[in-house]
């Protein structure tokens, strides 16, 4: 970190103030340390309680789980898991590799995992990722939908010996092992349970970094853990994550040489970021898709024929123009409901949506007319106005629809003040028209792009889409024992989405970032998060 040693203020009265304050704030011992922008995590940094990117990126530096998603390809690879065996896609035996410890010296054993998962699933602990354990036997007793829990541990988990434990699922789920790289499944040391408050103040994990100091709300200093046993140790001395409330300020700091890495280039800077940073600007696909979701619980959007209206609306949106003009190509027009980061083998198939995702005003007009027109002749697009500058693109979509329908008032944006209120309205099912939705994958599986969002009663099925055929295909895909067959089934299910269009795929979002000349070997992983441990300080 380089700050101007002593502000060179000379003018008049300011000098007086300066004399009164000794120049200082020096920073020592930062050699080899990378400073990076950060957002204040929403929840305490517990693995099963962290469900957003900012907290997730820290846990990814502090922890290693059974599996990890390859930073380049996104494929799930064994880390602590020596092998995960099953014969029926429902009962699994997990065997750990030897030699792993937490940074406080404690051994990582089967119990470290089982205890952590039991803690995460337990209703009394109010962990926001508790639902990730729902496939394990006994979840309904430790986490009942109503009333108090009747058990303290998941009956489906059993420790066999120090390095082995078994998992019984309540349904067949062939890709379950591949979900285990998600933050919620990380192991926890005894210290977590013994002195929880102290642990949260300074988390202890088993990853390539350890926490040097954590000043909540402003800075977290992490240093390389020299005894890290994994094969992906930190290639820098440490990472200082500094909380910024405004990503414009982070970008300014980067330009002034005061910060090494920003992991989000603000929209306002996109037009000149290439002149500013040249090759030090990163812009590559991440596992994020943005959609417009229809309230399928509203009769006006689910009457017979409205699938034509929904498909027509999709065709009325000029994705190519909006992604270029508004997003400066940091979004890619979507042609399916997954993400390019999955790759072809993982289930991404360009063009699966077919003609319904191609801009075609004439055909759009015709389809909407055939389907009986917009309900009441008008529609609103609801979005939250507090974050992410959604207004610009929502207005652009409405313009595109209005031009297509040759009606200036067919579509208008409907801002909601805060994200919390927006989520409340969605949860209360009071939406009367399509609303914006974004999905950032938890793990790079096609299952994660379909099941939570479109399966009946899925955890993120905001539009309450329900289709028996879709559910059946998803079940079959989960039961399939080979991944090729599973992907094919999932894609069959996706074709139903193309027919029914319960949500309009808009674009895939890229991860973006920029870095200073001080560091190199910077890349983003499939989640759009910098791969911190590979960064080198020049």
């Amino acid at each position: 970190m380089r700050r101007p040693g002593c502000a060179k203020w000379g003018a008049g009265a300011l000098a007086v103030a300066l004399v009164a304050t000794a120049c200082g704030g020096g920073s020592a011992g930062r050699s080899g340390v990378v400073s990076s922008s950060w957002g204040d995590p929403q929840n305490p940094l517990e693995p099963a309680n962290t469900n957003e990117v900012q907290g997730g990126k820290v846990l990814d530096m502090l922890f290693r789980g059974l599996k990890r998603y390859d930073p380049r390809t996104g494929a799930a690879q064994n880390v602590l898991a020596d092998r995960i065996e099953t014969t029926d896609s429902q009962h699994y035996t997990v065997v750990l590799k030897p030699g792993w410890t937490f940074s406080n010296g404690e051994k990582v054993t089967a119990k470290s995992f089982v205890d952590a998962w039991n803690y995460g699933a337990q209703l009394r602990n109010k962990q926001k990722n508790a639902a990730f354990f729902q496939y394990i036997d006994g979840f309904d007793r430790v986490h009942p939908a109503t009333g108090a829990p009747t058990a303290t541990t998941l009956s489906g988990l059993a420790v066999k010996d120090a390095r082995t434990f078994t998992v019984a699922l309540n349904q067949k789920f062939s890709s379950w092992p591949d979900t285990l790289g998600y933050t919620a499944f990380m192991p926890l040391p005894r210290a977590f349970f013994k002195d929880h408050a102290a642990w949260v103040d300074k988390p202890v994990g088993n990853g390539p970094y350890l926490v040097d100091s954590y000043d909540k709300g402003s800075v977290m200093r992490m240093r390389k853990w020299a005894k890290y046993p994994g094969d992906d140790p930190a290639r820098n001395g440490g990472i200082d994550l500094r909380v910024y409330t405004d990503n414009n300020t982070a970008y300014t700091d980067l330009q002034a040489g005061n910060l090494d890495l920003v992991d989000d280039v603000p929209a306002a800077q996109l037009t000149h970021v290439k002149q500013d940073l040249g090759g030090r600007y990163l812009n590559q696909p991440a596992g994020i898709i943005q959609t417009l979701t229809f309230p399928m619980y509203d009769k006006r959007w689910s009457r017979p024929g409205s699938d034509k209206v929904r498909r027509g609306l999709s065709m009325a949106i000029d994705r190519a123009q909006i992604t270029q003009e508004i997003f400066q190509r940091t979004r890619t027009p979507a042609t399916d409901w997954t993400s390019p980061v999955l790759g072809k083998a993982g289930g991404y198939q360009a063009g699966l949506c077919g003609a319904a995702c191609v801009f075609d005003p004439a055909r759009a007009r015709q389809l909407i007319k055939e389907g009986g027109g917009l309900p009441g002749g008008r529609m609103t697009l609801t979005y939250n106005a507090d974050t992410g500058s959604h207004k610009d693109w929502i207005d652009a979509i409405c313009n595109s629809i209005n031009r297509t329908l040759r009606d200036d008032r067919a579509c208008v944006g409907a801002p909601v003040g805060t994200f919390a209120d927006f989520r409340n309205k969605i949860a209360a099912r009071t939406m009367t028209g399509p609303f914006r939705a974004g999905w950032q994958m938890d793990y790079p599986l096609i299952q994660n792009f379909l099941q939570p969002l479109y399966y009946s009663n899925g955890s993120a099925n905001d539009g309450k889409f329900s289709n028996p055929r879709f559910d059946t295909l998803v079940n079959q895909a989960n039961a399939a024992t080979n991944s090729g067959a599973a992907v094919a089934k999932f894609q069959d299910a996706e074709r139903i989405l193309a027919q029914q269009m319960p949500s309009i795929p808009l674009w895939y979002q890229n991860g973006s970032g920029g870095y200073s000349e001080r560091i190199s070997n910077v890349s983003l992983n499939a989640f759009g998060v910098p791969v911190y441990n590979q960064i080198k300080v020049n």
């Binding site: 009164a20 109010k126 962990q127 709300g217 909380v243 300020t249």
Partner: protein
């Protein structure tokens, strides 16, 4: 004097209760904060219910308020969602904003009063017109414009100052944000001082002082300035509260983790203990500053006395 202070302090109680209730009501009206904690996923009903019960959010508003007030009188301002207690947030945020405010007020007073005196004594001359014009420009530029502009010019182009402030917020790094925060008020202070000086410069007591043969600097500092500062002190006093609350924009631009930052986070995440607690303290600061101003009158002008 003592009775006056006591009366003023007693008046703070209804203001305190009223403002906390209004704030509580307004934050409550924003809706349920729990849904947003789960991101784009529907909240798991059982977990959400457990969180609501723990945060006392499942009770009717008046009960929540009574519970909150009961806690406050035990010195407990509640917890933010990230698990930190609000008193802890206050302890880290208020000193930072206070430092920023002090820097701003010092700049405001030094530059504002000096410019005001110069232009007030030379009314109608070119320097006076220049100061008036400059202050007009400063008043009409919004803080976020001047903030980003000065940050870019001083921080990135000339590298005179750091564009953002370190977490410890040392005073020298607060000079630039303090200047930005002070700018608008500075223009007002200049104009107030100028008018006041220009008016009093022709007063009888000034003429008498000059006639006695007192040196010019003594006439100005002892006789003229002392009387002319009363409206300025009133303005600066009320401005202290406004500066602390109004630092939201400045703190955001310079990434200062003070009161504005915490308030912004609190509102964004709809954490009523944070918002209500911080604003309540701000209300108290405002009241105290007003009281201080009223007491200062008596010091500046002995003719003003309180029974």
């Amino acid at each position: 004097m003592g009775r006056y202070v006591a009366r003023r302090l007693l008046q703070m109680i209804p203001v305190f209760v009223g403002s906390t209730f209004l704030l509580f009501f307004m934050v409550y009206a924003l809706g349920d904060p729990v849904a947003a904690m789960f991101g784009d996923r529907a909240p798991d009903p059982a977990t959400a219910a457990q969180i609501r019960r723990d945060l006392y959010l499942d009770q009717p508003l008046w009960k929540q308020y009574v519970h909150y007030m009961g806690q406050i009188f035990q010195g407990n301002f509640g917890t933010a969602f990230n698990g930190q207690s609000v008193t802890e947030l206050m302890a880290s945020a208020f000193p930072v904003t206070l430092r920023l405010t002090i820097v701003a007020v010092v700049i405001e007073m030094l530059v504002g009063v000096v410019l005001g005196v110069f232009s007030g004594l030379r009314r109608g001359r070119s320097i006076d017109t220049g100061v008036l014009l400059a202050s007009l420009v400063v008043v009409s530029v919004p803080t976020f414009v001047s903030g980003y502009l000065l940050q870019f010019v001083f921080g990135v182009r000339w590298e005179w100052a750091a564009p953002s402030v370190a977490p410890e917020a040392p005073l020298n790094e607060l000079l630039l944000p303090g200047l930005v925060l002070a700018l608008v008020s500075l223009a007002y202070v200049t104009r107030l001082t100028r008018t006041s000086i220009a008016e009093n410069a022709r007063a009888d007591y000034v003429r008498t002082a000059v006639a006695k043969g007192l040196p010019r600097h003594r006439v100005i500092s002892r006789h003229l300035l002392r009387n002319s500062l009363i409206p300025v002190v009133t303005f600066i006093g009320t401005d202290v509260g406004a500066l602390m609350g109004g630092a939201i924009v400045t703190e955001r631009i310079f990434n200062i983790h003070g009161v504005g930052y915490q308030l912004y986070q609190g509102i964004l995440r709809q954490n009523s203990p944070t918002v209500v607690g911080f604003v309540t303290i701000l209300v108290l600061v405002f009241l105290a500053a007003n009281l201080l101003v009223d007491l200062l009158y008596a010091v500046l002008d002995p003719r003003i006395r309180y029974a």
